[in-house]
């Protein structure tokens, strides 16, 4: 059994996860990273993705993360997420709407900040649908 360390996933609205874990997989702007205990101390921005958490006891958990930050400290790792949800908490209808909206914005393709935001929104919506077990309906070229 790997050494456990403390993980906190917090959002501005609430604390989503707070407890000992052995391993997590997150995606930063630089790519996917796995974090075991005694990981190098880093601070890095996160992109919208699905985080995988291996608690010390119990089953593997997954959450959608709508972007944010990761701070790996000495014995505590903190995920500062803009939003975070378990599969059971996802509003599928809303995510589908958000996906539609994002696709439309992208289709109009104004190559400025709008596009970046729309792509992030699309990513968030597709993550939610994926985790909730609903197909995003054909991947997009975004």
């Amino acid at each position: 059994m790997a050494t456990p360390y403390h993980l906190k996933i917090v959002t501005p609205e609430r604390t989503v996860f707070d407890g000992p874990v052995t391993y997590i997989i997150v995606r930063s702007t630089e790519g996917e990273i796995g974090i075991l205990a005694h990981h190098m101390q880093i601070i890095t921005p996160l992109v919208p993705h699905i985080i995988t958490v291996y608690p010390e006891a119990g089953n593997v958990e997954q959450f959608t993360i709508g972007g944010g930050f990761l701070e790996v400290g000495n014995d505590t790792t903190v995920v500062l997420a803009d939003s975070a949800e378990r599969a059971s908490e996802i509003d599928v209808a809303r995510a589908q709407l958000a996906r539609q909206r994002a696709l439309e914005t992208i289709a109009q393709a104004k190559p400025d900040i709008d596009l970046i935001r729309a792509k992030r929104a699309l990513q968030r919506a597709e993550n939610r649908l994926k985790l909730a077990g609903h197909s995003a309906g054909g991947m997009t070229s975004a």
Binding site: K8, V10, T11, P12, E13, R14, T15, D18, S28, T29, E30, M40, Q41, I42, I43, T44, P45, G68, F69, E71, G73, N74, V78, L80, D82
Partner: protein, 285 residues
């Protein structure tokens, strides 16, 4: 004349009872809103504390950056959070007193305000304190979205050099009866006290400090504002509940006294009528 006095008292009792119904209702509404606001404020505290700690640690390790580096101060901006409505006891007065004192203390002549909430806006305008921007209509459930919009404006003014420091006055919710007016400096971000920044923390910024800060610091400002909005809202409802509770109690006391007075007046009128009848009858004999 006697009957007129009696009627007058009756009318006043009715009027006070009506007012009391309103204060009772307001107390109940405030209590319901308070429960919700308190829950939200408490849930948000964790994130706020974490991002504050992370930001401060990062700042102490990361060196100078636009949002961090102090610069020659020409004008200071003060974000002041008040409520949109009154009838909350001394709530708004307390906030404004501290905010204005702080403005004079650290801001001197070149202090300007960002007013959140109508009460603060009106007060500042009345005192001729320059208002850089006002944000009204936050409502009972401040959203992260609203906080982000406010933070964006403030950051713009800060980065554009309109203000060189940003302070924030809000109330921290402690319990329904107690809140604490607090003022803190938001920008530039303060470094943590020496013992917290301890040497054992040596961070790697990925991909590089500049990118991390560009992402982290605006978010920090957003969350400071968001969290302050939630704390202030909870405090406001607490203050209103307390104020309306004591108003209802005062009304009770007032009604009790007026009923006593009414009974006394009525008794006096009866006594006088009897006296008149008796003396009238005697006169006939």
């Amino acid at each position: 004349m006697a009957a007129g006095g009696l009627k007058e008292v009756d009318r006043r009792i009715k009027s006070v009872k009506n007012t009391q119904q309103i204060t009772r209702a307001m107390k109940m509404v405030a209590a319901a809103k308070l429960r919700k606001a308190e829950l939200r404020a408490k849930k948000a505290r964790d994130y706020f504390e974490q991002i504050q700690a992370v930001t401060r640690r990062a700042v102490s390790k990361g060196g100078a950056q636009k949002l961090v580096a102090p610069r020659t101060v020409q004008r200071k901006g003060f974000v002041i959070i008040t409520s949109a409505r009154g009838l909350a006891g001394p709530y708004n007065a307390n906030v404004l007193r501290q905010a204005v004192a702080k403005m004079q203390e650290v801001g001197g002549k070149n202090a300007a305000a960002f007013a959140i909430g109508r009460k603060g806006r009106d007060y500042l305008a009345h005192r001729n304190i320059p208002i850089l921007q006002e944000f009204l209509g936050v409502g009972d459930d401040p959203t992260l979205h609203q906080a982000q919009a406010i933070a964006r404006e403030i950051l713009q003014q800060y980065l554009g050099g309109e203000v060189d420091e940003v302070w924030l006055t809000y109330t921290k919710f402690i319990n329904p009866l107690t809140h604490e007016v607090r003022t803190l400096r938001v920008l530039p971000v303060e470094e943590p006290p020496a013992e917290e920044s301890g040497a054992e923390r040596s961070y790697v910024f990925e991909p590089d400090p500049e990118t991390v800060f560009n992402d982290l610091l605006p978010r920090y400002v957003e969350v400071v504002i968001f969290s302050a909005l939630l704390e202030s809202k909870a405090s406001e409802h607490g203050a209103r509940m307390t104020a309306m509770d004591s108003a209802s109690k005062n009304a009770d006391e007032l009604i009790r006294q007026m009923i006593l007075m009414r009974n006394r007046l009525r008794q006096a009128a009866i006594t006088r009528e009897i006296a008149e009848l008796v003396s009238g009858a005697e006169a006939l004999e």
